[in-house]
């Protein structure tokens, strides 16, 4: 087996086709995770009676176990639950009709939700309490104060963490190969094993991921500049 530098380019072109799948997984899990995260964070901040310990347990469990176990648990556990319920209530829906990528979406969203809730929580806590009191004092309702005063500032405070989470989920999406979804990593495996050139194929995959990560970082830097406009000191 000899190193074949020109194959890196060939592999690169072949793997490019799998980028959308990786991006779908990332975007779906980050967006769904963000929504879960906001709900969980609000439950924990406002200490909603019964839900509060449940939310804390969810976050602890997800953060304490590897993402791979979440994926495997969902992959093997969800069909049992769905088919059990379907048999009981006579639904026509069966777990077989869930596409493989659906499991990845569900599992990664649950994972992202726990991490996002911490990001959202720290962002919300970073906003000074006085701000919401000031908003109340000029007659805003709590939802108004949250939406107009707290959220914009919390977003600015948590943007670096948010970007890290997106990158984390992008990298985490490589696990989708365990449930036979052909993302960048799985494509690299296919290209590698059909051509028997492992090093070149994985190098190409690594370069693609590196590029994607770099793009996310640049994009965040741009957004951060815009979002922090109100924060610049001085006049003008």
């Amino acid at each position: 087996m000899k190193l074949d530098p020109s194959f890196i380019w060939t592999a690169f072109l072949q793997i490019l086709g799998a980028i959308p799948t990786t991006l779908y997984i990332t975007v779906v899990s980050v967006s769904a995770g963000f929504i879960i995260g906001i709900v969980v964070a609000l439950i924990r901040i406002y200490k909603v009676p019964v839900l509060h310990p449940l939310a804390a347990g969810y976050v602890t469990f997800i953060r304490g176990t590897p993402m791979l176990t979440h994926l495997l648990l969902i992959y093997f556990g969800l069909p049992v639950i769905i088919d059990g319920l379907a048999a009981q209530f006579g639904w026509s829906f069966r777990s077989v009709s869930i596409p493989m990528i659906g499991f990845a979406y569900i599992s990664f969203s649950i994972t992202a939700g726990a991490y996002m809730s911490e990001v959202v929580r720290s962002g919300l806590l970073a906003v000074d309490r006085g701000q919401i009191e000031a908003a109340h004092s000029i007659g805003m309702s709590t939802p108004q104060a949250l939406r107009r005063i707290v959220f914009p500032q919390a977003l600015a405070a948590s943007l670096p963490n948010l970007s890290n989470s997106v990158i984390g989920m992008l990298h985490g999406s490589t696990l989708a190969f365990t449930v036979s979804v052909v993302d960048i990593n799985a494509k690299a495996q296919i290209v590698a094993s059909t051509n028997w050139k492992f090093f070149e194929a994985y190098l190409a995959a690594a370069l693609i991921f590196w590029g994607l990560t770099f793009l996310i970082e640049r994009a965040t830097a741009l957004i951060e500049k815009r979002i922090n406009l109100y924060n610049r000191g001085g006049v003008a």
């Binding site: 087996m1 190193l3 995770g33 602890t60 469990f61 953060r63 304490g64 176990t65 590897p66 993402m67 791979l68 176990t69 495997l72 648990l73 093997f76 556990g77 069909p79 049992v80 994972t111 992202a112 991490y115 911490e118 990001v119 720290s122 405070a157 670096p160 963490n161 890290n164 989470s165 997106v166 990158i167 984390g168 989920m169 992008l170 990298h171 985490g172 490589t174 696990l175 990593n185 690299a188 495996q189 590698a192 492992f198 090093f199 994985y202 190098l203 995959a205 690594a206 991921f209 590196w210 990560t213 770099f214």
Partner: protein, 261 residues
Amino acid sequence: MGAPFDLGFVFSFLPKLLTTLSTTLLIVACSLLAGILVGFIIALPRLYKVPVLKTLAEVYISFFRGTPILIQLFLFYYGLPEVLKLVHVDMTRTPVLVFVILTYGLHTGAFMSEMIRAAVTAVDKGQVEAAYATGMTSYQAFTRIVLPQALGIAIPVFSNLVIALLKDTSLAFTLGVMEMTGKAQTLGSVTQHFIETYIALALIYLVISLCIEKLLLVAERRLLQHEAQGSPVKRRFSLQKKSSYRRIIAELDSGKGGGTI
């Protein structure tokens, strides 16, 4: 898909999985040591702004933080023997575990170096100047003044890195290492009780990460005991420190914690 759910299997799988716990912990311990060493070496050129080495270190960190650990695993496992073959070193008989530890070591090294750099730069420069003013050498100033403070600042981040590393080891099974996840998959396919095995697996990981968190929390308290609350002067001091913590934790905390594998 498999046999019906039976909670009893979760408990019977626990001891079976625990037999491979030593492999998982071995990977964590070895890569941690390697990571601290690499991290220190990589952090130095950036702290002292050594011209060419600084750029190299930045590329290294960018690569290891910018690509998934799974890709790095495959890259080293398949790539290193081929590269070393060019200089006539034969790696065909090297155990897989060596590649796994090497990859995790280099991966954590990148994060460690960021942690070390952030912690050292977070210590007020005036402290070093004060140490010089009292006649300490730069070695003394580092070991007596900077290091104790930097350790206290770094330890929450360190704790996160260790837990992240523990969770990352679940990927070693892809190269055929029989650590806990690999064992769980084998158990699952032998008995067809997949859900029960993975629940047992998740429980073990959860308990270990909680233990690590608690242990390092104790270490953190010990390291920070000199930051005692008490007289108002000291108190103001500790408040100032707190803000630097928050900055670092915000910067680095989810650098690894943010959706890690």
